[in-house]
């Protein structure tokens, strides 16, 4: 194992102190979408730039979350989650590539 020199050590300590603050801020910028009964809920979400949206599949059937050219989750089995941080404003239409009648929208301002 590499032994930390004094300078690296102080950086590590600073990071450890800052971490809880950073996490708290991320919580403020986190939103959730649930998949229940083959429906994205809420179907439309308005968020600020920098927000992370987390999708959770609560069905007994796998689903995906796909926005053409923007993001694509793996197949999410029951209770699996997928997160994406929106860094650009715009309208993001998305759907489940397995059950394409399932659609949703994220509006980023």
């Amino acid at each position: 194992m590499k032994i930390l020199n004094r300078r690296d050590f102080s950086v590590a300590v600073a990071a450890a102190i800052l971490l809880p603050v950073t996490t708290a801020r991320a919580d403020d910028n986190a939103m959730e979408v649930h998949i229940d009964n083959f429906v994205f809920q809420p179907a439309e979400l308005k968020i600020k730039v920098g927000t992370t949206v987390t999708w959770t599949n609560r069905d007994d059937i796998p689903h995906t979350v796909v926005s053409a050219g923007k993001f694509r989750s793996k197949a999410l089995d029951t209770d699996d989650k997928f997160s994406f941080t929106f860094t650009d404003a715009g309208d993001y239409k998305y759907f489940c590539s397995l059950h394409p009648h399932m659609t949703g929208m994220i509006k980023v301002e």
Binding site: D60, P62, V66, F95
Partner: protein, 314 residues
């Protein structure tokens, strides 16, 4: 049996039994002159006596190996029961088709388990993929096993017993807000595949998602399925076999018979009768009456094709 297009039954019980090839209890569909008739529920003991001539093949679908949720905690077990039913048939079928969703999550172990059980039928199996078979990152497990000799995403055709069989793939490149999809490349191949075929050649099209629109609100249909059906319009006998909706449904349009098979894993609700098309939990005692396989018999020169849906347990 909602969704069946029942005709008036003018066939005697004796005729029914003559058409039977399956030693189980099921609903027999016979097609004469392109018009199928439901012949009702048949008792297994009496049905076992007759074996029809001609070619019989099996359809199995939606085995969802790996599924372990409350609707059926042991989907591998019920697949094994279905294969047991097939092995107990008095007449060995010529071959089997599997209309997709072999696995639940496209894991290598799920494909291996499915193959271990299905191979116990000792039948040639012709597969088409369901959306659950293309979930692995590189989409390679299905293709490695079943894609050899196929075109595009896995479509192909073959001839058996005087019938032209066409396996189609309608679970790839689906568009948001849309249904199942065949795509331009596959449709062009299909048109070419049928070119020059005698119009008296019976045609069987099989694919995972129904090629006809069953219930678009749940995505039960194929966006460009109508295009495929245009290419087979002039043929005297066309049978379309699908899975995906985990229940028996039948429709007839002209010379085309559409039929969906039961799953061997779990039932799904009838269109619009539940909040979603997801797995339907039924009483344990009822489960096996909602799972099963289909047996299809074709008699040469008669353009007659009989589809018998057999539950695992009646």
């Amino acid at each position: 049996m909602s969704g069946h297009d029942h005709g008036e039954d003018g066939v005697s019980r004796r005729n029914v039994l003559e058409c039977m090839t399956w030693a189980g209890t099921g609903v027999l569909w016979t097609i004469t002159g392109g018009v199928p008739r439901s012949l009702g529920i048949i008792d297994s003991a009496e049905a076992a006596t007759a074996a029809a001539p001609g070619m019989t093949f099996l359809q199995i679908s939606d085995s969802h190996v790996g599924f372990d949720k409350p609707a059926n905690p042991n989907a591998l077990g019920t697949l094994e029961e279905a294969v047991g039913k097939i092995n107990a048939m008095p007449t060995k079928p010529s071959f089997m088709i599997h209309t997709g969703d072999i696995t639940h999550l496209s894991k290598a172990s799920e494909f291996d388990n499915a193959d271990r059980i299905i191979s116990q039928s000792k039948l040639d199996v012709h597969y088409v993929p369901g959306e659950h078979d293309f979930l692995d990152e590189e989409v390679k497990f299905y293709r490695e096993r079943y894609g050899r000799g196929t075109k595009g995403q896995g479509w192909y055709s073959f001839d058996a017993g005087g019938v032209h069989f066409i396996g189609l793939v309608n679970v790839v490149d689906l568009k948001g807000g849309g249904l199942g999809n065949l795509g331009a490349e596959q449709l062009a191949w299909l048109e070419d595949d049928l070119r020059g075929k005698s119009k008296s050649t019976p045609v069987v099209l099989f694919a995972h998602i129904p090629l006809w629109t069953v219930y678009p609100e749940w995505g039960w249909g194929t966006e460009d399925g109508g295009r495929a059906l245009e290419y087979v319009k002039g043929f005297g006998s066309v049978t379309v076999l699908n899975g995906h909706i985990h229940q028996v449904m039948q429709k007839v349009e002209g010379n085309v018979t559409f039929h969906t098979a039961r799953s061997t894993a779990f039932p799904q609700p009838a269109p619009g009768t539940a909040p979603s098309p997801g797995p339907m939990k039924v009483e344990d005692a009822k489960l096996r009456s909602m799972l099963g396989v289909a047996s299809i018999n074709f008699k040469q020169n008669e353009q007659r094709l009989a589809i018998i849906d057999t539950p695992l347990q009646s």
